[in-house]
Amino acid sequence: MENKLNVPTMASLFAEGKQPEVLFWVGCAGSFDDRAKKITKAFVKLLHKAGVSFAVLGTEESCTGDPAKRAGNEFLFQMQAMTNIEVMNGYEIKKVVTACPHCFNTIKNEYPSLGGTYEVLHHTQFLKALVDEGRITLEGGTYKGKRITYHDPCYLGRANDVFEAPRELISKLDAELVEMKNCRKKGLCCGAGGAQMFKEPEKGDKDVNIERTEQALETQPEIIAAACPFCNTMMTDGVKNKEKEASIAVMDIAELLANVEDL
């Protein structure tokens, strides 16, 4: 049994009259999905390692409303958004970091006009800054020379032009970054966006995640790096479908960094 993580909540810090440097927005997948919870924990360990003062909302956090909005339910989205904004504004939050590109996009772009304006960072951007500042050192050659291909999450890449932070982190691992034929602005969706995660796909010849996994496999990677819990699920399913799970791991960038740091 590992040590329990120390995860301060905004409520507890607020009671002590403290304000953390940043709010870690965990998101629904990061809170409830077994695979994504590992990413959440890896990121928390990195935050501790770097000595970042952070807090989570814990039970006061609620879905950003992204899947409702993309499904067409603007009412439900705005109900979620305004409730969350009220909570965040109540804690006078200035800076938010999240490991989910959907939460990132929604809070960064769609909350301001509803009264919630914060500096919002994706965890790859935040980690990149920690590495640049020397707060995380990335010593140890766990991934030295390994072939890693990076899957651009639509809502991080194309939607918000964050292409380089995750790639720079991978290159700092001394790994060999290999690009898929569709990458950066032309990245192919994993199939989960637009609330597809929560429904059966419409009928067609193939599932989108299989198509994307095939592109990833063409690069003959040892690791498929993702930066989104939903992409992670879709790519993991794709790799299993191709019966490659013994030789190819699907991992979040935060997990790669945490492993290097032996956390």
Partner: protein, 441 residues
Amino acid sequence: MSYLPNIIFAIALVLGIGFFAKNVKKLRRNILLGKDAEVSDNKPQRWRNMARIALGQSKMVVRPVAGLMHIIVYVGFVIINIEVLEIVIDGLLGTHRIFAPLGSVYDFLIGSFEVLAFLVIVAVVVFWIRRNVMRLQRFLKPEMEGWPKKDGNLILYIELVLMFLFLTMNAADFKLQQLGAAGYEQAGAFPISSFIAPLFDGMSISTIILIERSAWWLHILGILAFLNYLYYSKHLHILLAFPNTYYGKLVPQGQMSNVAAVTNEVKLMLDPAADPFATGAENAEEPEKFGASDVQDLNWVQLLNAYTCTECGRCTSECPANQTGKLLSPRKIMMDTRDRLEEVGKNIDANKGVFVPDGKQLLDDYITREELWACTTCNACVEACPVSIDPLSIITEMRRYLVMEQSAAPTDLNNMMGNLENNGAPWPFNQMDRLNWAQES
């Protein structure tokens, strides 16, 4: 009697431009059937986008072969149109090559027009081969059957004919200049048509004049006809690409608009001071319809998008749903929107300026629910469009109608939304368990 050609020319010009102007008016009216759009912000950025994307063709070259060929045809048509200015002046005044006194500048101009005309012919032939011999997949999708396919080829044929007429006219002129025919003074350089001129060897001067005049007339009448073809064709993009890129989305692609009417409602719902028994005012207006089921529910920029689409299919070929065999094709979304808008426009024309409900709408009669629910909102189509069209915004607007007006979401999504309402998460987990991960090893 000697003024007859001038008069015929003036009449042709007035008819050609007048008919076109009439269609432009109709086009404008149809586009303005859409709702208001907030696009008056950040003018400098909008001008820059237009300069870079439309004028500078920056997104065309993402696909280098098609991009380069397109730039040739585009530059060719823009520059060769300087020649049209001379033709129009000559036609009205009865002069011949009125810019000839420009001397070496004129030689340079005519010479470059000819080289461009030749390059346009090459590019058009390549385009035709791509569509009809290589049969590139994106030109063969189901929505391209029938008129769209014919339209695409027809444009290529017209361009080809216009370029040949231009070169024939120059070749005959060059020959007449060599023969010293009256009224054909030495003017211009003919790097391409000088290779055509030998075809006229042995013909009498009057025959060559007949050829020159016929080519001249057919060329300008052809241009006027082509101008009027635009409204009925996907080729409208040569004009609308400019306003369309100007009015294109400026915020991050991932940002979806927030519906203001909903904001007011939600604020009221969350306001603890709101009177729960309040009833609406007696004469309150009927609440606005949420989302879009027909073209009038879309905003005018989305309708402008529809007329701007030139059916190149780059959106569809990048669409993950389409690539995996789903029914959705972003290009079809745009083509359907235009077709329905045209139908609504014709309805208004036929009914003295008022739209009479025809029992049809964009949803179901044109765009099916299966298409709408196949979208992953990944923005690949938006990124791919070389002229800043946003098919995704139409898809999400129609989803809004299905969900908020019709409660017609797929069952899985209704379950997800039910969970979200009850637990604050798309899965059936209790919000109070949200921090349990911190306690798990």
